[in-house]
């Protein structure tokens, strides 16, 4: 199985001067006024029996999804944009509660470093603890430590059709009562529950927790904030019903404002900055972006 040739991408990134990366620009795109490069696109190979797929970073998520669904598999990515963009910004699927964050599905990343060299992080197999887990560092790094060129993701067999339900019990009680819901959403008034699995299991789970079928999911307000799942009730109690949609169990709140969060500890910021300086001493990758300031 041959991966994607990243040598041209490496030449474009080069060794000197500010450079930015963009995909479909659904998550803000490149840094304004800075030379922008685009990573390779396309699925290099897909091996359903190994549950692994390899693609270029700027492959549209829709293209990847279509290909995986042909073999009855999926990967826990959000609905829009490119694979690399979702990884760089650590954007997750609505079904994160069941399928986990995308960083748990990243097996290998080949990237272009600030020195313009192609490097490999992680490995191609579904299990690997060979050396430090640099893939974890790159997911959510907003292209400030290296530009993702190609990724190998772990796929999973589809669990069955998603069905949406609603219930009248307290949403937190509903979430606790369910074995493994794919999503539990609440807007202060209505609860939406997504269940996946064997049709009979979904039926019996829904009737056990007294859920009724409903159309879902709701439309999300534009801004997402993160809070501790155990603080969700108190945080949302200060918000007008229907002005937000909260993801129970994961702690993401969609609303029209960015909710205040505790500052990152000063020592942690120092460590983050030290990592940035060690990886990109001249600060040439996505200049001006400092993930520890984007809250």
């Amino acid at each position: 199985m041959t991966g994607i040739d990243l040598s041209l991408f490496a030449i474009e990134v080069g060794e000197f001067g500010p450079v930015s990366v963009a995909g479909l620009s659904t998550r803000g795109g490149g840094v304004e006024g800075v030379r922008t490069v685009v990573a390779p696109s396309g699925i290099a190979w897909y091996n359903p029996e190994e549950m692994t797929v390899c693609c270029g970073a700027s492959t549209p998520i829709s293209e990847l999804r279509a290909r995986l669904s042909e073999a009855g598999q999926f990967v826990a990515l959000p609905d829009f944009g490119t694979v690399g963009g979702a990884l760089a910004t650590a954007s997750n699927s609505l079904f994160r509660l069941r399928h986990g964050p995308i960083r748990d599905s990243v097996l290998q990343i080949r990237l272009v470093t600030a020195q313009g060299e192609v490097a490999q992080a992680g490995g191609p197999t579904v299990k690997n603890v060979s050396g430090f887990d640099l893939c974890r560092l790159l997911v959510g790094s907003h292209g400030t430590l290296g530009f993702i060129g190609e990724v190998i993701l772990r796929t999973r067999p589809s669990l069955g059709a998603v069905r949406w339900f609603t219930g009248t019990d307290d949403p937190f009680v509903i979430r606790r009562s369910l074995y493994r819901p794919s999503s539990v959403l609440w807007d202060g008034k209505t609860t939406w529950v997504a269940l996946e699995g064997h049709a009979c299991d979904v039926e019996s789970e829904a009737s056990r927790v007294r859920l009724e079928p409903v159309v879902g999911p709701p439309r999300f307000p534009p801004i997402s904030s993160c809070v501790s799942p155990s603080d969700l009730r108190s945080v949302t109690s200060r918000m007008a019903p229907t002005s937000f949609v909260a993801e129970l169990g994961t702690g993401i709140v969609h609303s029209s404002v960015l909710l205040a969060r505790p500052c990152i500890d000063a020592s942690v910021v120092t460590l983050q900055q030290r990592i940035k300086t060690t990886f990109d001493p001249e600060g040439r990758l996505n200049p001006g972006r400092a993930p520890w300031e984007v809250r």
């Binding site: 470093t113 197999t125 603890v129 060979s130 959510g140 606790r176 009979c200 299991d201 990592i275």
Partner: protein, 482 residues
């Protein structure tokens, strides 16, 4: 092999530690230092001091004292590691977390717990089971390995096929960094840090600091479980069944394979009812909700039959199921009846290459005149060839190491990786270049440098010498890892 010369720890450092902790928790006697010179691997080093902090502040005091004296330090949990990750070198200060073993809190609503690093893996699941929850990573050593050690090694276990390894189950870490700062990495809220420092700390083998409090994710116990035991007259049929089960759209909770030699050894020891005439047996466990488990158990059994299974047995009850797992998890205890010593390997290959690499493993063992047994996480392609030997036989260790290196090389050549769950430590440090280019290794070294500019946290592990780190104080030959 003769023991390395033990450098003597500075008296001033010992005095400082004694003041910070208490005299009974700072040990320097020769007999005690002997115990701590290695982990569960065959690799020996030398400990200069062993101390037993009970709080984060005490761990901080140990780290600060060590750094002040320019002395290396190594965190150690239960010492069950198999790659020499906790083996101290050059008389390092061993910071044992065994006295930090409290479960601090359990949040059953949010399915998480705060624990100290010395909590034993199985103890956590036992305590949380009354709430219908467990900690998913389940290494075979789970009766004795610690959560802190699981974090350091990003440990796996049979049930990580569906649930993922330790990194997927850690929410936050309170860490004493190598400069003595106490920080919180990660958090209970999703995406709370910029760079995922929690994620890179997991699996950093004690080289990025010492975790002193750990927030773990707990997994609900499945409402239904079915365990199948399949026998095959041909190992290849068993391996093809593994791939076919995955290809059929099932993701079992566990897919474990044992070859004939290990099955016989275990059966003599545990009496688990394993078939003795099979070339390989496959344990397939399905868990989740009742209908899906029932349907998948039937489908998995059918896949087995169509791929040449000579028998398929579904565990009739919990006792039978427990016995199957007792057999699987005690495999390594059973081999002591054959030869006194063993060397357990750990590599991963693509599932489709399992048969091919297994055949190479048998061939390698034959050429080196060694007994090899295989018990492994087939679903992950995670091989565990077990070389058994008697180290009193002259020259046998050289053969064991030569065979081991060939097994690792064969796995990497088949598109695999160096380690699936044991880590790199000292054992595979010098193999890193089989898998990574100098540019790749340089990036890993940069990360190490950012976390530990002085290079005193567990020096000279993971990264081969010649990397940019300031770890390379003493040059060691390849013969160190015995």
């Amino acid at each position: 092999m003769s023991a390395p010369v033990r450098p003597v720890a500075p008296t001033a450092l010992i005095a400082e530690l004694t003041t910070a902790l208490s005299p009974d928790r700072v040990r320097t006697s020769v007999t005690e230092l002997e115990i701590y010179r290695r982990d569960a691997s065959n690799i020996e080093g030398s400990a200069g001091i062993v101390c037993f902090p009970t709080t984060t502040v005490e761990v901080q005091a140990c780290v600060r004292a060590s750094v002040r004296h320019g002395w290396p330090f190594v965190a150690r949990g239960s010492g069950t590691g198999l790659a020499g990750g906790a083996t101290p070198l050059d008389g390092a200060l061993v910071i044992s977390t065994t006295k930090m073993n409290r479960i601090l809190s359990i949040d059953t609503d949010e399915r998480m717990a705060w624990v100290e690093p010395g909590v034993i893996n199985l103890d956590l699941s036992r305590v949380t089971s009354r709430h219908g929850l467990h900690f998913a990573p389940d290494p075979s050593s789970q009766q004795s390995c610690s959560i802190g050690g699981n974090v350091a090694n990003n440990s796996g276990g049979p049930h990580c096929l569906a649930e993922g390894v330790t990194n997927s189950h850690i929410l936050a870490l309170e860490v004493v960094l190598p400069d003595g700062e106490i920080v919180m990495l990660g958090g209970l809220e999703p995406e709370c840090d910029a760079y995922d420092l929690r994620g890179v700390f997991v699996g950093s083998e004690g080289m990025f600091g010492i975790a002193t409090r750990i927030a773990v994710r707990l997994t609900p116990n499945p409402p239904a479980v079915k365990t199948l035991l399949m026998a095959f007259a041909d190992t290849g049929d068993g391996a093809r069944t593994v791939s076919a089960i995955i290809a059929a759209g099932m993701l079992p909770a566990a897919l474990e394979m044992m070859d004939a030699p290990i099955t016989r050894a275990v059966e003599d020891f545990v009496h688990a009812g394993f078939p003795l005439d099979a070339a390989a047996i496959l344990i397939v466990e399905l868990d989740g909700q009742a209908h899906a488990v029932e349907a998948d158990a039937q489908r998995a059994a059918d896949v087995g039959w169509t791929h040449g299974a000579t028998s398929v047995r579904i565990a009739a009850n919990e006792a039978e199921r427990a016995l199957i797992w007792k057999g699987r998890k005690n495999a390594f205890g059973a081999i002591a009846r054959i030869k006194p010593n063993y060397y357990l390997h750990d590599t991963v290959v693509p599932r489709a290459k399992l048969v091919d690499v297994l055949e190479q493993v048998y061939d390698i063992a034959r050429r080196h005149d060694l007994i090899v047994m295989n018990v492994f996480h087939a679903g992950d392609g995670n091989l565990h060839p077990l070389l058994v030997f008697d180290k009193r036989e002259p020259g046998v260790l050289d053969r064991v190491h030569a065979a081991g290196e060939e097994i690792v090389a064969a796995s990497v050549a088949a598109g695999g990786v160096l380690s699936g769950e044991h880590g790199i430590g000292l054992e595979k440090r010098d193999y890193m270049s089989m898998m990574f280019s100098p540019v790749d290794l340089d990036l890993q070294a940069r990360l190490r440098q950012a976390f530990d500019p002085t290079g005193l946290a567990n020096p000279r592990k993971v990264l081969p010498s010649g990397s940019r780190c300031s770890d390379g104080m003493v040059a060691h030959g390849a013969g160190l890892w015995v």
